[in-house]
């Protein structure tokens, strides 16, 4: 089948979702009101609360939620064939992610722009808030560990990308200084930065760098993981404008360039989808599609992380309440289209079915490597790029996304440790450096604990990460549902996704528990139990809160 059909069906479906379903949700369920005074106006302070142009707001909402996760998930999940992943991404974006993201914005805007965490405490209860904190910590822990493993793997697979990936940090440092000191205007800086980055990408394959196989008893993979965490620890301690801000900016530009290139190459080259529609020849030990598909693809179909961004920063800048539809729902569609591009790259970027099967030899194989190799073939076929350069381009894109997520993630984890230091009166833990070291240590423990000393099996925790992320989304949906019930409006549009998510996550956790037990992998078994307990707590909170909400008479708000 032609990949163009897949692309048009996917984008068409999501566009229809935006035009029809999101309009229905915005006008009849959330009842977004253009005359409502948003917190950005009510508390305008020029710092946190600033009414912002909706296109700008959409731009950084989208670029903060889109990262490596919507690429990794789909690129693993196509092992079941392209159809299940495609359907879950498209339908998930339309009926789950869009409703969840715009709903999180709406809920936050209607509650003085509070974050989902604070809202859980207020709308659901103090106990739910504690659960929420635990779930957030688990999400951050897993995302950092997994991304460290993923980048290490990318760097080893494509030695040509080592120079541009690390060089991008230097480019960002220079750009940051140029902008901060107002040496030249933003437009010129952006052009110079993008040219420098793509220059590095072009040069990279000519100067490949590989680490020696053994350094002080560590494999190359393990050394890269340690180096990456060393970098992330330093980066997370630097002031944001030195590195994080310019890096985010370059990533944003890269995201748009990468998406345009990939979609353009598919339209011009018209590659054929070689992967089967539904894979009947699954490698041994592949878990069953139901329920694992729904936790393998979290970002790209529905992800709790979006709720954090929506309620943390975007809601404080929303100019008019109806903008929530564009920023939230269309932001989810942006992410869905990235996941769609990942599906196409990982299914249509191979010459034949045999080549595809040679990559997808076991569950967890493929992932970013398949995206990079497949995507490079598509770019080469459609735009006539050199395959090596194209692969480097995609590797850099994925590695930069994952890297920025790592240093933001470590920063947030450090805040949590610092907060715990305050709560439990451990003075040393409230300082940035020890708290960062604790965060790094916990991530390394997970990365190596899950994958052995060479850190190669860290991707095994990917479905657990997806599960935790879905639990977070579940908590946000719970907040929205209760707000709807209190207002006497139909709750089915958020309640149905919530129920679906909870059933799938608990089901997936139990399935994995069984497989970890059979493999005698006690570390992952323990982690699974922790997440399972969190999932059960979330479910119980949902049942209790919904029971309370439905039995109380609707308020007139």
């Amino acid at each position: 089948m032609s990949a163009i059909i897949l692309l048009l069906l996917g984008l068409g479906g999501m566009a229809a979702g935006y035009l029809v379903y999101s309009r229905f949700i915005a006008t009849h369920i959330y009842k977004l009101d253009p005359n409502y005074r948003t917190p950005a106006h009510e508390y305008e302070d020029g710092v946190d609360f600033v009414p912002t142009n909706r296109y700008v707001l959409w731009g950084h909402h989208f670029t903060s939620v889109a990262g490596a996760a919507p690429i990794v998930g789909p690129a693993i999940a196509v092992i079941w064939g392209w159809l299940p992943a495609f359907l879950w991404v498209v339908l998930g974006t339309i009926f789950f992610a869009g409703v969840h993201d715009s709903g999180a914005l709406w809920a936050s805007v209607r509650n003085r722009a509070k974050s989902v965490g604070a809202l859980t405490g207020e709308v659901v209860g103090a106990r739910a808030r504690t659960v929420f904190m635990i779930v957030i910590f688990l999400v951050l822990l897993m995302v950092n560990a997994v991304f460290g493993v993923v980048i290490a793997k990318l760097l080893i697979n494509n030695p040509g990308s080592v120079v541009p990936v690390w060089g991008a940090i230097a480019v960002a440092l220079v750009i940051g200084q140029l902008i901060y000191r107002r040496v030249i205007g933003l437009g010129v800086v952006s052009v110079v930065g993008v040219i420098a980055l793509y220059g590095l990408i072009y040069v990279g394959p000519q100067v490949p760098v590989s680490l020696p196989d053994q350094v002080m008893g560590l494999s190359a993979n393990a050394s890269w993981i340690l180096l990456l965490f060393g970098y992330a620890a330093i980066a997370s301690l630097l002031p944001v404008w030195v590195l994080l801000q310019p890096r985010d900016y370059i990533n944003g530009l890269q995201l748009f360039v990468g998406l345009i290139l990939l979609y353009g190459a598919v339209l011009i080259g018209n590659p054929t989808v070689v992967a089967p529609m539904i894979n009947s020849d699954l490698p041994a030990n592949t878990p069953s599609l139901l329920p694992l598909l729904f936790v393998t693809i979290a970002c790209g179909a529905i992800s709790g992380f979006h709720g954090l961004v929506a309620s943390g920063t975007s809601s404080k800048q929303l100019d008019k309440e109806p903008d929530a539809r564009f920023v939230g729902y269309f932001g989810a569609i942006g992410e869905g289209s990235l996941a769609l591009a990942a599906i196409i790259a990982a299914t249509a970027g191979f010459a034949s079915l045999a080549d595809w099967q040679a990559v997808y030899t076991a569950f967890g194989q493929g992932s970013l490597t398949a995206f990079v190799d497949g995507g490079a073939n598509i770019l080469a076929g459609g735009l006539g790029m050199d395959v090596g350069v194209a692969a480097t381009l995609l590797t850099v894109m994925a590695a930069l996304f994952a890297g920025t997520t790592m240093d933001t993630g470590l920063r947030l984890q450090r805040y949590i440790f610092q907060e715990w230091g305050e709560i439990y009166q451990q003075k040393w833990m409230t300082r940035p450096l020890p708290a960062t070291l604790l965060a790094v240590a916990s991530c390394l423990l997970l990365a190596f604990g899950a994958g052995g000393a060479d850190g190669s099996g860290g991707l095994l925790i990917w479905p657990l990460f997806g599960t935790t992320n879905q639990l977070l989304a579940g908590l946000t949906l719970l907040v929205i549902t209760i707000m709807l019930v209190k207002r006497g409006r139909p709750a089915i549009y958020t309640l149905a996704p919530l129920a679906f998510l909870l059933v799938m996550t608990v089901f997936a956790l139990l399935m994995q528990l069984k497989s970890f037990y059979e493999k005698e992998d006690w570390f992952l078994l323990g982690l699974d139990v922790v997440v399972l307990v969190a999932a059960l707590l979330v479910t119980l909170e949902c049942l209790a809160a919904l029971k309370r909400a439905f039995s109380a008479p609707p308020e007139t708000v």
Partner: protein
């Protein structure tokens, strides 16, 4: 025509700057405030008994900083000026 294009690019530049700055406004404002606190401490250090080798120069700055002095001592959690001989409010 040229005017229109110029206006368009100017608008584009403004939006770009917003895009660059919006996510980090709060963090940068906080950092700037910390820097300001340190600077104030340096300028008024002599009054609090902290020897300052640059006192000669910082003394000249004091009258210029009166307005900010008020903001600073309230931010530091002191309702009134902490210095007996240096009234503020």
């Amino acid at each position: 025509m040229a005017g229109k294009a110029q206006l368009f690019f100017k608008r584009l530049g403004e939006l770009g700057a917003q895009y660059y700055n919006a996510p980090y406004r709060a963090a940068i404002a906080r950092a700037r405030r910390d820097e300001e606190d340190l600077f104030m401490l340096l300028v008024f250090s002599e009054m609090m008994g902290i020897p300052n080798p640059a006192a000669w120069s910082t003394l000249e700055l004091q009258p210029l900083l009166m307005a900010r002095f008020h903001e600073w001592h309230t931010r530091m959690g002191m309702e009134r000026s902490p210095l007996d001989h240096f009234r503020c409010c």
